[in-house]
């Protein structure tokens, strides 16, 4: 226990039982291991696509991609989010966790899930992480293990969510009878985690039954997978917002100046809008009613509302706070942040990646553009800004900040500040080249997009840029994971006591003309408009007219 810091977060963690801290520490260690493995696999796939490290067998290449998806998207994100949930619960409760044994059980089940996934991937036909039963009709055993991996994952999610939920309920009762904004957000988020477990079961129970011979081949697996995936990728986005809410007071002293009721409403709206926005994954599916396509695009816009609101709440509060403390000029409040902290750099990079990823996301939700962009490298090109640049960086920052309070090390080293920027640079190359290649039709999920010379030569060049970007991403992320992992394992410099910055009086903050975030949003809307227009112009310039089917 190292209560030599005065941040409220370390005090909350100090109030946990020692076993609770061990649990959180173990969750993050397992999470970091999954991320380390997954990022190497992702790098390998990128190098294979560039033609620099192509495995002998195509099966091997697709197995790498399968495990990349499983290890980072399911294992890393789940374990790190489980850790974050317990941290949020501790922050609200300021006393030992409830049902901590379930958390341990959840961790064990997650390890079992990983082993099952590994065995299922290495044996049998190469599946990708969606595990389409169509592809394994003649090799159900390998697929069975893979599907059981998802079954275990569903169970793991439930076990990992329940201690957080129970602790939060206790905290509310013990407190003033209502949650802080963060407490409410964490509870609702954990609820969505349970919904993801339902979606997992919904998708893979039929597949499991089929694989053991107890049912027909699930015909709508693709649809069910889209629903699951939809849940699973909004979940960490909400988790990221909560991480920002948690970290900002720690880093800057700034709290939301909009009141906790407003923040709760924003979190609630986020959940309200997740289900109706799932349609956009389906735009390319044959057989969708045209009205559904239009509706899908329109509804997808709504998820932007709480996302932008949360962004404005966080950033405007931050700016108002900085100005109230005397920062002057357009960007003085940014300069006045504590740039000696790695976390400040990581979160700043995350905000930039959110902007880049967000602009591209809103291009992709236009149903008419599905026939140009869906199933191309545009998709991984854009979503790595989100999954890596926003979510992973933010979760890593939480892990980094709490390491000392969990009994690990975590002293700062100067070079760590550059890592988020190195990752962002890599992402930029990967993402921009990927988006350009994708808009030219270069498909995702192929190991060799040269098509024996029949593909446009630009695809080869762009794949090289993607490969270079991936190298930088992997280098930056690898070093970051290594450093934080070492701190968790007790290596590295000792943490120095940090004082939490003082908050300024709210009345003063409220008087500030904090326009920065609003201007940023206006700029983003302009960029989205331009990008959408560009995509339409490209689509209409193609020497082909197509009507009907899907995507148009």
């Amino acid at each position: 226990m190292t209560p030599n810091t005065h941040s409220s977060l370390s005090l909350s963690l100090a109030a946990l039982a020692p076993g609770d801290r061990r649990l959180i520490r173990s969750l993050f260690i397992a999470a970091l291991a999954a991320l380390a493995l997954g990022l190497l696999l992702g790098l390998w796939v990128a190098l294979a696509r560039a033609g620099w490290a192509r495995p002998d067998l195509p099966e091997t290449g697709y197995r790498l991609l399968t495990l990349h998806g499983v290890a980072v998207f399911f294992d890393w994100l789940t374990l790190a989010q489980a850790g974050l949930l317990l941290v949020l619960a501790a922050q609200e409760r300021k006393a030992p966790l409830s049902l901590a044994w379930m958390g341990w059980a959840g961790l064990v089940v997650m390890l079992v899930a990983f082993v099952l996934h590994l065995l299922g991937t290495l044996g049998g036909n190469p599946l990708l992480y969606d595990g389409s039963p169509e592809l394994v009709a003649d090799a159900r055993q390998g697929a069975l293990l893979f599907y059981l991996g998802y079954g275990a994952l569903a169970l793991g999610l439930v076990l990992l969510a329940l201690p957080g939920l129970a602790t939060l309920v206790k905290a509310r009762k013990a407190g003033s009878g209502s949650w802080t904004a963060l407490g409410f957000g964490a509870f609702a988020w954990a609820g969505l985690l349970l919904v993801s477990a339902i979606a997992l079961a919904n998708t893979f129970l039929p597949a499991i039954l089929w694989a053991v011979g107890l049912g027909g081949m699930p015909a709508d697996h693709a649809t069910l997978w889209h629903l699951l995936f939809h849940n699973m990728h909004y979940l960490p986005l909400l988790g990221t917002m909560l991480a920002w809410y948690l970290l900002l007071p720690e880093l800057t002293g700034a709290r939301s100046i909009f009141g906790s009721g407003f923040s709760k409403l924003v979190f609630c709206l986020y959940l309200v809008f997740v289900p109706p926005t799932s349609l956009y994954h389906m735009f390319l599916e044959p057989g969708l009613d045209p009205m559904v396509l239009v509706l899908g695009s329109l509804l997808s816009l709504f998820i932007g509302v709480p996302t932008i609101a949360a962004f404005l709440v966080v950033m405007t509060s931050l700016e108002a706070h900085g100005r109230a403390r005397g920062a002057r000029g357009g960007l003085g409040w940014l300069k006045s942040l504590d740039w000696s902290q790695t976390a400040t750099h990581a979160l700043a990079a995350a905000v930039i990646n959110l902007a880049l990823g967000g602009v591209l996301a809103f291009v992709l939700i236009q149903e008419k553009l599905a026939g140009l962009l869906s199933d191309t490298f545009f998709v991984p090109g854009y979503f790595h800004f989100m999954t890596l640049g926003v979510v992973t960086l933010s979760l890593l920052t939480v892990a980094e900040r709490i390491a000392p309070a969990l009994g690990g090390r975590g002293g700062s080293v100067a070079w760590a500040r550059y890592l988020p920027w190195l990752i962002t640079l890599g992402l930029f190359l990967f993402g921009v080249a990927g988006v350009v290649a994708g808009s030219q039709g270069m498909p995702r999920r192929v190991l060799d997009a040269s098509y024996e010379g029949l593909a446009p030569t630009s695809w080869i060049l762009l794949s090289w840029i993607i490969g270079i970007g991936a190298l930088l991403m992997a280098l930056g992320l690898g070093l970051m994971v290594a450093r934080i992992g070492a701190a968790y394992l007790g290596f590295g410099p000792k943490a120095l006591a940090t004082e939490q910055p003082q908050a300024v009086p709210e009345e003063l903050a409220l008087k500030q003309g904090a326009w920065g975030a609003s201007l940023a949003v206006a700029l983003l809307l302009t960029l989205i408009t331009a990008a959408t227009w560009g995509a339409f112009a490209l689509m209409r310039s193609l020497p082909v007219i197509a009507i009907g089917g899907a995507g148009h």
Binding site: E134, S297, I308, Q366, G371, Q440, I545, G549, H552
Partner: protein
């Protein structure tokens, strides 16, 4: 809430302002409308191309099964396989390409009064050997004329057509399987509207066409007939490729479409 009345509060720190600014994203719908992308699908896409869009039947209301591009009540995978084979056989050219609507099958076992004539017509097309460059073929125009000249004979093909519909080669059957397409080499005419009838028969596949600076992406679900009306406006040779992961040799799954 009292804050709205609080004169000490700056505009960007007001909740109402944040709410309004967040709703601003919905303004993107206006952008889509301006780009002509908000209406019912299918219609607007043909706006600028009345010449092609004027067909009485668009794929989004494909006849018979009262639904959309894809139908539940379409042919089974076996039926589709057979239809595709018939289609390929019917329009197979000497160079191995499949060119719907071109000339009736030259080598045919059925007694055909015009067969001899057809056979005779074929060998005088010397470009068959270098048809790989059909897109730039100096004889392309000649091909077209030949086709028109021969068109009256097409009724012969019509009689034996196993497809049961009197099309003038407006339909294209495309079957996607592990791992390839049938036909694997199509020759189509620029400016002519084809009705593509596509199906993935063993697992889900894609049938995407690389069109230079962008692609026309199509997803095919196993056993689901998907129809699109496609008009190529320029001549050229295009890569047809699979864009839905379908197993180990997914990235070898290609075919060629020459627009002549």
């Amino acid at each position: 809430m009292t804050q709205a009345l609080d004169p000490g509060r700056s505009l960007p720190t007001r909740r109402g302002f944040v709410a309004a600014a967040s709703l601003g994203i919905l303004g993107l719908y206006g952008v889509w409308a301006a780009l002509g992308a908000s209406g019912k699908s299918g219609k607007d896409e043909s706006d600028g191309h009345a010449g092609h869009g004027g067909e009485p039947e668009t794929a989004s209301s494909s006849g018979g099964h009262g639904g959309h591009g894809a139908s539940v009540g379409g042919p089974s995978t076996d039926d589709f396989r057979r239809l595709t084979e018939d289609f390929s056989k019917r329009w197979k050219q000497q160079d191995g390409s499949v060119r719907p609507g071109y000339v009736p099958e030259p080598v045919r076992s059925e007694p055909d009064p015009h067969a001899g004539h057809d056979m005779h017509a074929q060998p005088v097309q010397p470009q068959a050997s270098h048809a790989g460059h059909a897109g730039h073929d100096p004889h392309a125009g000649h091909d077209m004329q030949a086709m028109q000249a021969l068109a009256p004979n097409a009724h012969a093909g019509h009689e034996v057509a196993p497809l049961g519909n009197a099309d003038g080669g407006n339909e294209v059957y495309l079957m996607a399987y592990q791992w390839g397409f049938e036909p694997s080499w199509l020759k189509l005419e620029a400016g002519k509207t084809y009705r593509f009838r596509m199906m993935a028969v063993d697992a889900s596949h894609g049938a995407s066409i690389q069109m230079g600076s962008g692609s026309l992406i199509t997803r095919l679900r196993q056993g689901v007939l998907t129809e699109r009306e496609i008009t190529f406006t320029d001549k050229g040779s295009h890569l047809l490729y699979c864009t839905v992961f379908c197993g180990a040799f997914h990235d070898r799954m290609t075919a060629r479409i020459d627009v002549v």
